[in-house]
């Protein structure tokens, strides 16, 4: 059974998430660097490339924010701030080993609700600056949300069904022997896809893609941009991290303590997503929509049916 985390965990959580996000962004920067400019010449150059996101963050901190005419500053700011806030709130139910900041009886629904705030956040950030290109980015994310949300919901419902509980701690406890990823592979793969889509990153970065001059981030500069893009990395870390308690057995594993397994598995999922990104092009949403509704929804429904039958016969 999961233990209640001490109160200071609520303070540590955002810090830990930020550190994880910086490391992930650094890893991505190293991979991008070696893809664009060849492999790093030495340790020093590799280090420079890995710290590029940090230096960019510092640069953004002192950069002048951009003002646009007749902007809706209130809504725009709200959208920008909502991205990291949603990520941290969703992270509150992430178990670290067997211990989460909060483990409510409806933790899985809570996670889903918090990541749905990203829908509002990206659209608001796109709406705020009164700029056509950023608004296009915002609309793109809503279309993307409609495409990924249904298969995503069925995937996490399948994990809850396997544990017969919406409590994240129970889902972890149910994977003491066999990981859910082993007997729910379709749900696991769909979850990983939607984790990328939720963080509007990598192959699902269409809302922020270059063909719309940066989409929802087109007019963001300075601290706004740092909070928005940093929040996106946080979202990626949290959504990737949540696949560990849902499908990869949480802190269960031989020899090492629970927290170490959580860390290892989260790092492995993030590494897979960051490395896999390089092999995949950015997807246009109507293409993913068709795949999601024609293939992934029936697939996840069949997966849920299979799990339901197994659970009923247990």
């Amino acid at each position: 059974m999961p233990d209640a985390a001490p109160l200071w965990a609520a303070v540590v959580l955002p810090v830990a998430l930020v550190v994880a996000a910086v490391v992930t962004a650094g890893f991505d920067a190293v991979l991008s660097g070696s893809a664009e400019r060849g492999p790093a010449g030495g340790v020093r150059e590799a280090g420079l490339r890995a710290t590029a996101p940090l230096r960019e963050a510092l640069r953004l901190l002192v950069q002048q924010p951009r003002r646009t005419t007749a902007a809706d500053r209130l809504l725009g700011r709200l959208g920008v701030v909502l991205v990291p806030v949603a990520a941290v709130l969703a992270g509150a139910v992430l178990p670290w080993g067997f211990c989460a900041v909060s483990d409510p009886s409806v933790g899985i629904v809570w996670f889903n609700a918090m990541e749905a705030l990203a829908w509002a956040a990206v659209w608001l950030a796109g709406w705020g600056p009164n700029s056509a290109l950023s608004l296009i980015g915002g609309y793109r994310f809503l279309a993307q949300g409609l495409a990924y949300e249904l298969p995503h919901m069925f995937a996490i419902t399948t994990a809850a069904l396997g544990a017969e509980s919406l409590r994240v701690g129970d889902v972890v406890a149910a994977q003491d022997g066999l990981w859910f990823a082993v007997w729910m592979p379709a749900a696991f793969v769909v979850y990983l896809l939607s984790a990328l889509a939720m963080a509007f990153w990598g192959p699902f970065g269409h809302p922020l893609s270059r063909d719309a001059a940066g989409g929802a981030e087109a007019e963001l500069a300075g601290v706004d941009r740092l909070v928005f893009l940093g929040g996106r990395w946080l979202l990626l870390v949290v959504t990737a991290g949540f696949s560990v308690p849902l499908f990869l057995g949480g802190g269960h594993g031989p020899l090492l303590p629970g927290w170490a397994w959580t860390l290892l598995k989260t790092a492995a999922v993030l590494a897979l997503l960051v490395a896999g990104r390089r092999a995949l092009p950015v997807l246009r949403m109507e293409r993913y929509m068709e795949l999601a509704w024609m293939v992934l929804v029936p697939l996840t429904l069949l997966q849920a049916l299979f799990v339901a039958v197994v659970v009923l016969n247990r």
Partner: protein, 193 residues
């Protein structure tokens, strides 16, 4: 300690109620459709918070989830269909101002009086372990079959409406005999194309 906690919960409930009403009012005061929609979302999130505080965890979180997604989509339609979406020109969403204000005030007064005058029963027994289950059973326990049928009928209606409203059906895409190997779409791409 317990009494203190109850007091805190009561005041948070009151604060959320005030916020919900205030942002509900702002829905009609804002001229920008985006702001009106998100004021409505704020109001609904406050309601979700109230339900959470009342111990109905599942319902509270589901309200937050559903309403966030619903209002995010609704903003698109508000901007699409309402005049003056960005609030750059004055407009009003209120019709029959005086009449509506009078009706609202009277209804509010009657409901508030009902709260104060109703003979509330005192608690018997103890709170249930799963209030959500109890609420669901008492709301639609005997009518579960009716509700399930209704749900299916509603869903079928939605699908039928979309099928009727879509401009391009499968005959446009795959030919009159549905035998075309590749769908004839204005935008190429997607599954199997």
């Amino acid at each position: 300690m317990r009494a203190l906690l109850n007091d805190v919960i009561f005041w948070v409930l009151a604060l959320l109620a005030l916020l919900a009403v205030a942002s509900g009012v702002m829905v009609f005061r804002f001229e920008s459709m985006a702001r009106a929609t998100y004021a409505l979302l704020t109001s609904l999130l406050c309601v979700g918070g109230e339900v959470l505080l009342l111990g109905l965890d599942y319902l509270g979180v589901v309200i937050v989830l559903m309403m966030t997604i619903e209002m995010a989509i609704m903003a698109v339609f508000m901007v699409m269909y309402m005049m003056n979406p960005a609030g750059l020109m004055p407009m009003t969403m209120v019709h029959n101002k005086q009449g509506a204000a009078a009706i609202c005030a009277v209804v509010f007064a009657v409901l508030a009086a009902g709260i104060l005058l109703a003979p509330w029963p005192s608690r018997r027994g103890r709170p249930s372990d799963d209030p959500t289950l109890d609420l669901g059973l008492s709301l639609m326990g005997p009518q579960m079959l009716t509700m399930m049928t209704l749900g299916l009928a509603l869903f079928a209606t939605i699908v039928a409406t979309v099928v009727l409203a879509t401009r391009r059906g499968r005959y446009d895409r795959f030919g009159d005999d549905l035998k075309a190997r590749r769908a004839d779409d204005p935008v190429q791409g997607g599954r199997g194309r």
